[in-house]
Symmetry: C2
Subunit: 395 residues, 2 copies
Amino acid sequence: MEKKINLGIFGFGCVGQGLYNVLNHTRGFNATIRKICIKHPEKKRILDASLFTTDRNEILNDPEIDVIVELIDDVQAAFEIVETALKKKKAVVSANKKMIAEHLDELLRLQQENGVSFLYEASCCASIPIIRNLEEYYDNELLRSVEGILNGSTNYILTHIFQHNKSFEKALKEAQEMGFAESDPRLDVEGFDAKYKLMIILVHAFGIVLHPGDVFNYGIQHLNDFDIRHAKEKNATIKLIANCRKVGNKVYAYCMPKFVPLSDTLNKVNFEYNGLILEGAFSENQFFMGKGAGGNSTGSAVLSDISALTYGYRYEYKKMDQHLNYKYSNDHVVEVYVRQKGKLKIDPAVFESVSIRYESPECDYFIAKINLQKIMNSEWLNDPDISIILTENNT
Amino acid sequence: MEKKINLGIFGFGCVGQGLYNVLNHTRGFNATIRKICIKHPEKKRILDASLFTTDRNEILNDPEIDVIVELIDDVQAAFEIVETALKKKKAVVSANKKMIAEHLDELLRLQQENGVSFLYEASCCASIPIIRNLEEYYDNELLRSVEGILNGSTNYILTHIFQHNKSFEKALKEAQEMGFAESDPRLDVEGFDAKYKLMIILVHAFGIVLHPGDVFNYGIQHLNDFDIRHAKEKNATIKLIANCRKVGNKVYAYCMPKFVPLSDTLNKVNFEYNGLILEGAFSENQFFMGKGAGGNSTGSAVLSDISALTYGYRYEYKKMDQHLNYKYSNDHVVEVYVRQKGKLKIDPAVFESVSIRYESPECDYFIAKINLQKIMNSEWLNDPDISIILTENNT
């Protein structure tokens, strides 16, 4: 049964404006924008001033507004808005992965306590309908792993390096100059953004709720030309990979750069695209690819969530209900390439085993097996002279 | 709310057996196999004989069985089983695209009259959750087109030709010798199988219910080495493409071979894989890829449907409810390469316009624009000396 809804929107950047356009130019959408809360009233707007407010309570206290669309940058303010809205029994649509990942348990509790829907497809790989697919299609033990490229900015940089023979330093600088990275580029480059998305995936894939500190993320900021050359010699590229996988009752997850062979499906995901591979119990892989960033792709995911609300849709968090009791653990051995510039800083005793040890005047590296937990605890983790890359031999 | 269900299965080939294995080796599945109807009781089976029957009524009349899984080859028998089951208020899961495409309107009516669920994700690109995504995620006017490779057998043949430099004749013969094609290989090679899937997509994408004769399908059986060489010279491959697209209120659809440039996303879909591109109103494309055939991939889709039934899921056919009133029409101009061997048989007057006319002792061809309806009505349509291939300039 379809119902008519009144929207209160927070934020009117490119996503908000795209949303407005489509809502006003397509039939079949039973949603109207009633009020938009903005931070900068002095900016020239395409809409009548009466539609805007700078007072969030004007929206939150309006009993006619039944759906809040949260599209702002500020994590703390976003959470406060979502929390207040849910407590007032208003459904919420959000695209804010950082806010969601940092408040997962509270947001789950708020939904349950208030019996109201909170949808956030746009927060995870923009237009790729990954959450909906995990919720609806892989709603039992059939799922084994989700692996993918979840951050468009770093993928754009890495694609430029490998397809256009740019040096890492130059590609990164260009991306920054283009204003391509987020307001805080560390979120992208150091793998936080991809990790937030991975954490959201973990909830819907395996029913596991974590805090950001629980999951290891290692970015691409330490890569250098030696690493790039090494990848090319091995007929591979380097991609920033987010991965979560169930082995028996245990689930591990990480976000790290990886050598991806040219023939690999994930090497089809280039520039600002995101892509995910879902592996099922029947060992059949599904591959999803779409634009992972940008106003339009994010906007289209927001629209699909709003549309779903007109049908009363809500996430059922079936994996949590099924009491599958998967245990999250970083006690998992990975094979890595660890490259260091200058004299030896790493005690090889940290490794489970070393298969290759390479020394040269330019750089040294190991190909070695190591427990994820030991990488996370190592004192050389943030050393800019050290670069850690997963080999292709990791699933 | 999850409920326990009892399954009655028709057919126990590789899909049925895979289904049995998973149901018995995973927790979290609230489904039990109560009876399996088979055609050949003399065959050695992995299960106790008491589980089998050759009498379809033993399943259809069993009040304890609430879900029928239909996995047989015979279209007429399959429809009878599904019809009877739905009339007895049993939910049905089917993988039989030919049966579904030939009986679309009856099957829709049966679901509505009996208020019971009929799911068939496995019928359309096996494990790719395309129907579920069209139903749940693209449930409004946001969708513009669905284009893809929907038949694994022909894609396998074409990939062999282009990647392994096989001649068309040899690749086709090998595929037939391997028993790779369906029991009736014409269904694959002449594009019927892909068309049946496209017809199912049309229901869930645009709310359009057609009969098989309404949609044009042209296969790959007329391809020859000249066509292959032509594609290679243009840095393209040939793929059998199914496409449906909305332009204004009009929807057109076809299944035809097409020159696909090497850089195109659909050229990432090789061998037995299927792949689809969904284009939304925000012009953002989603790409889905997965195995399009085989017991395991089909089995995993059947499992997901069974799992969905434990939650009371049913297709809502929202596009039909929305009274979008899209009009299906073959009155659509395409650009084609029409190659003929031997002397001229085609009156160029049939074309809207001709941009290239090539004549040589070996072959002649046109690059020309033509109305789809005129191709369908042409007397040279089935001439084995003539080959029609869409150029890359078609959307």
